[in-house]
Symmetry: D3
Amino acid sequence: MFSVTVRDHMMIAHSLQGEVFGPAQRLHGATYVVDATFRRATLDADGIVLDIGRAAEVLREVVAELGYRNLDEEPALAGMNTTTEELARVVADRLADAFGAQGLDSLLVTLRESHVAWASYERPL
Amino acid sequence: MFSVTVRDHMMIAHSLQGEVFGPAQRLHGATYVVDATFRRATLDADGIVLDIGRAAEVLREVVAELGYRNLDEEPALAGMNTTTEELARVVADRLADAFGAQGLDSLLVTLRESHVAWASYERPL
Amino acid sequence: MFSVTVRDHMMIAHSLQGEVFGPAQRLHGATYVVDATFRRATLDADGIVLDIGRAAEVLREVVAELGYRNLDEEPALAGMNTTTEELARVVADRLADAFGAQGLDSLLVTLRESHVAWASYERPL
Amino acid sequence: MFSVTVRDHMMIAHSLQGEVFGPAQRLHGATYVVDATFRRATLDADGIVLDIGRAAEVLREVVAELGYRNLDEEPALAGMNTTTEELARVVADRLADAFGAQGLDSLLVTLRESHVAWASYERPL
Amino acid sequence: MFSVTVRDHMMIAHSLQGEVFGPAQRLHGATYVVDATFRRATLDADGIVLDIGRAAEVLREVVAELGYRNLDEEPALAGMNTTTEELARVVADRLADAFGAQGLDSLLVTLRESHVAWASYERPL
Amino acid sequence: MFSVTVRDHMMIAHSLQGEVFGPAQRLHGATYVVDATFRRATLDADGIVLDIGRAAEVLREVVAELGYRNLDEEPALAGMNTTTEELARVVADRLADAFGAQGLDSLLVTLRESHVAWASYERPL
């Protein structure tokens, strides 16, 4: 199995609903360093998993749609607790929509919220 | 599949038994930067894998029980070669005891012993 | 010259005033990974720059006062553009107030806002 | 499942064939920071996955055979587009040849080409 | 004193002249992760050292002029041993030309060639 | 001003004397990731600060003399509290002895003891 990963980041404000979140129930924010990993069983005719330049470009578009925003007011995320886990899924699903399968097997998205905590979501393509 | 990871560290002394360890047969030590990854197929009602605050707290307790000690003299580790691999298992098993399953699927513990070497142990929950 | 550095982090929401900030004029947020470096020409009688445990504790208190907040509504920061540079100064000044000189020469605070951008402020003690 | 990882690096020149590579069709180069991860279901009698010293030594030999070279002129790689993915496979296959199975289950090789992009190849042993 | 740093990278081929370079006398290559640090005694009216967006843009232009090239054939570098140290100076001088002083005091450029080696050049502005 | 840095590491056991050290008064250990930075105002005729291969080799020798040992029993360190700060000085002084000035201006040694704490010592050459 092969994989290729590209990294970008987004800076957002949000608040989280539920006592379990303690002080994170208040409006605060995060930088998410986002790693998108594309997996494929065999390489294509060019010897690659996918065009890494296009992967970086699409990832940049996806994080640009979320970044520099207060996620509490994003209509597309209404009713969702925008935890790191949920945002990893949102990013992965949007990347999956943009790429389609094109021979890829799965996609793993990791959001690093600090030097001591991160979350991931993996899905088939 | 979702996952959440928290990071902490511990500083220990130990020696390793066996010719394969070369100079590490002498009493020496290590800082282990410890990453604990909790995996779960679906998120709970709060949109999380687990309470990351509690995960960090329990990890801190587990590394505090091992840290600032000479592991050669720890009764709980008697008869064990305290390699990075074995210590990854000890940390994972203690975390598993503290958490129980509570909907989690598996647990991966990585101990980084330097900028050029690390070891992991993964187990179901 | 000796130095000791401790690292912590804070997660905040804010917006920045001024056309130069482009999309960062909107309410958004950041994780700042905060490095506080204390400098001293000679070591004390214990062979240290300062008590690293107390340094970590005071840094934790300083970031706790800022973290999990919308800085646009913090009275103590009213009228300030809370850029990474300004926040580095705020953190440094609060650390300086907490520590006093006690033989230290200077203090350097670095706030990392992503994997590709950071800012620092250095001041005497 | 246990694993052990060792890290080394190699610095190479090459060019890539195919329009998808854009400016990377020109002769250029890369530092690949190489992580080799060895997986094994149970530990051996010494409490390890494998002799980490020997793993580091063999990895060093493998990267030394490729490093400080123009890969466009390497007979062993003739006719191959030396993408990061393909090179991950080359390194993994050479490590597999050097180690044999000796109880190991699989091998994962990751080549980091920058702070924002990397590729991996995983194979059984 | 304040500073702001932005990070980018470039991938180049080159060879080095002189016995001291050993195998690096052969044509090979490197990824340089480039950190550009701008220093300024006081902040401007917006509370910043400089427009970080423009800093990132100019750094990208400078590394794009060098990247995906064989530096042995670059007319602008003819007669220069393109060591990491020399390239740090080239990048710094080109950034200085692009920015001018505009209130800045100095500029530090660091080129990381691997996880175990890097070089820097600092100059006034 | 130019600089070149090389990185290595050492794994040691020790204990620290003094109430300020709390649990670190017990025998424990550390991995120190060691960065040695050599500074020089101008480059030599080869376009370098120093032979980076020899710098790495000498650093390896210095850390090998300290590593895989219990520093409490090292005659050369008798009577010294082997704090991170003191060990940074020991490493720097030994590097200085091995190199001499040879045109170098100063030397900075940083010992990283974990992902959240490190210490440095800088001296002229």
